[in-house]
């Protein structure tokens, strides 16, 4: 099919809007000092922390998000529509507000926080765990919404056939639902990881900005922007490179898995 020529104009505008800011970032970069700036101890620490926390958050999303998507798509519970809307909440909520909400739940004066401290002696705010929680909070919808859509599109026919072949519900989930969903899970995880990597607002309000424990790359870039612009730009480029790496390296492999 030939595309209508008219589509190319707005499409080009969209590409410009996505790509030109990165060009702007590159144009502001001092290429000679770049290796030195991105290998500074603060940048390396932040990079390592970002990768670790984002990977953990992605893992958390996988463990709880896949079952949630299946429940949302296949469940017959009352109040499921409300639950579906709730999953969208982190997408529409400004991340800073999400961070505040987490703080008032799990902070020292929040009821969840008091409970945790009294029962287990754990304080979450301003720890690396808080970074992971903030990232999980904002990134979860990216996995769940994609998976729920894929499950609905696929329909429950394969699952019904599996049941008539004698598969009990958990066997159906393990041997039919999940394998059929793998391509969607893969692409969902890439999006989730990328979102967690870029997370800023919820992290800074709930976890703070402490080098080594909660200062991820976006937080470092923000901090440096106020004092050392060259370093900030270098760190930002590092973030862009990391995000592009994840998307381009992992995504094609994920898509290959589909029939």
């Amino acid at each position: 099919m030939r595309l209508p020529a008219l589509l190319f104009v707005p499409a080009a505008v969209a590409v410009a809007l996505l790509v030109l800011p990165v060009v702007g970032l590159l144009s502001r970069t001092d290429l000679r000092r770049l290796p030195e700036l991105v290998s500074s101890p603060a940048a390396v620490d932040a990079l390592w922390l970002s990768v670790r926390t984002s990977a953990t958050a992605t893992g958390l999303c996988l463990v709880v998000g896949v079952p949630l998507a299946v429940v949302l798509a296949r469940g017959r519970l009352p109040g499921l529509r409300l639950l579906r809307a709730t999953v969208l909440l982190p997408l529409v909520l400004p991340p800073v507000v999400g961070g505040l909400a987490l703080l008032y739940l799990l902070g020292r004066n929040g009821f969840g926080g008091r409970l945790l401290e009294a029962a287990l002696g754990i304080r979450l705010p301003f720890t690396t765990v808080a970074v992971v929680l903030a990232q999980t909070f904002v990134a979860m919808p990216f996995l769940v919404i994609g998976l729920e859509g894929a499950l609905r599109t696929a329909g429950a026919r394969y699952e019904a056939v599996a049941a008539t072949l004698g598969a009990r519900p958990f066997v159906v989930f393990r041997r039919v639902t999940v394998p059929l969903l793998l391509p969607s899970i893969g692409s969902g995880l890439v999006l989730t990881f990328a979102r967690a990597l870029g997370e800023f607002g919820a992290t800074i309000t709930f976890a703070g900005n402490f080098p080594g424990t909660t200062q991820t790359l976006p937080l470092l870039a923000y901090q440096l922007a106020q004092s050392d612009v060259d370093s900030s730009v270098a760190v930002s480029l590092l973030l862009v490179a990391l995000a592009l790496l994840v998307i381009t390296l992992v995504r094609p492999r994920v898509i290959e898995g589909s029939p």
Binding site: R157, A160, A163, T164, R168, P179, L182
Partner: protein
Amino acid sequence: MTGLAVDVVARRGGFALDVRMEVASGEVVAVLGRNGAGKSTLLSVLAGLVRPETGHIALAGRVLTDTGRRVHVPPHRRGVGLLAQDPLLFPHLSVLANVAFGPSCLGASRRQSEDAARHWLSEVDAVGLAGRRRWQLSGGQAQRVALARALAAEPDLLLLDEPFAALDVDAAPALRAMTRRVLRGASRTALLVTHDPLDALVLADRVIVLSEGRLVEQGPTRSVLARPRTRFSAGVAGLNLIAGTAGPHGLATPDGTRLAGLRQEPVTDGDPVVGVFAPSAVAVHVRRPHGSPRNVFPALVAGLEPHGDVIRLRVAATPGLDWVEGLAADVTPAAVADLALEPGTMVWLAVKATEVAVHPAPSRA
């Protein structure tokens, strides 16, 4: 009894299925009916995918559903297999693993499951396909594998939902013959939903006809198709059917038209009856004919379609003769050209009284 006994009422939206039927062990029953007659709902209820509102289902001596005692055996423990129009082979598994799926769910080891899978693949002449994936199979091959997969789960009842409808005309006969072999060979209990009278004739011992969620006709396949009592089963058998009440001459339609016909069984005047005749028994004229045919009535040509070597004419009613709507007449292509027949042409249909068979009608026709 060790077969299937069903007595259920199920609702889906505004539609209600209300069916009571039995299938003997080893018997194959064809379920006929228009779209929306409740055939799929019946299969879903039997497979346990839809819960009936009230009722009772027993299969091979086990109670599968009993709403009175709140019994609802889940699909995976019912022993009811399903073969749909779409083979629905699991795309992430090889053919062998697809067929081994059922046995492994029943607790067989990997090796036992694969042995069973090979056995069932050989039953459908598909051993050579064992290593393939779904997208490397033709439609007929995929449906054969799906049949093997359903059988490998050793169901007490096999549900076949228009299993040949999506196949090429070349592939359908071979698969029909294959299905007949595996169903008859092991004398399996099966329910076959179909639109094709050939499926029913080749595979089924008995036919039931559903209309608006109710069982309106049942009997041995050959007699239902040879002597249909409802317009639907007449349509399936390719026959014309007119409902009315019995009279000394034959039958009278609701608007009072008298049709001459021959009674096939004793009936009392005034009883509901149906007159059945083949499209090939209908002569088509552009002017009112005079001669021996006793039944002559006007109609409008609604459509023309090729039907083997002849052209099948569908007619619409003229005002006041509603029962004419939808009747079929077979004419030669030469006659279509000679009479200049096209949609909208007014014609006279003539049927000899000896061609109209009058049968007692079921109470709901």
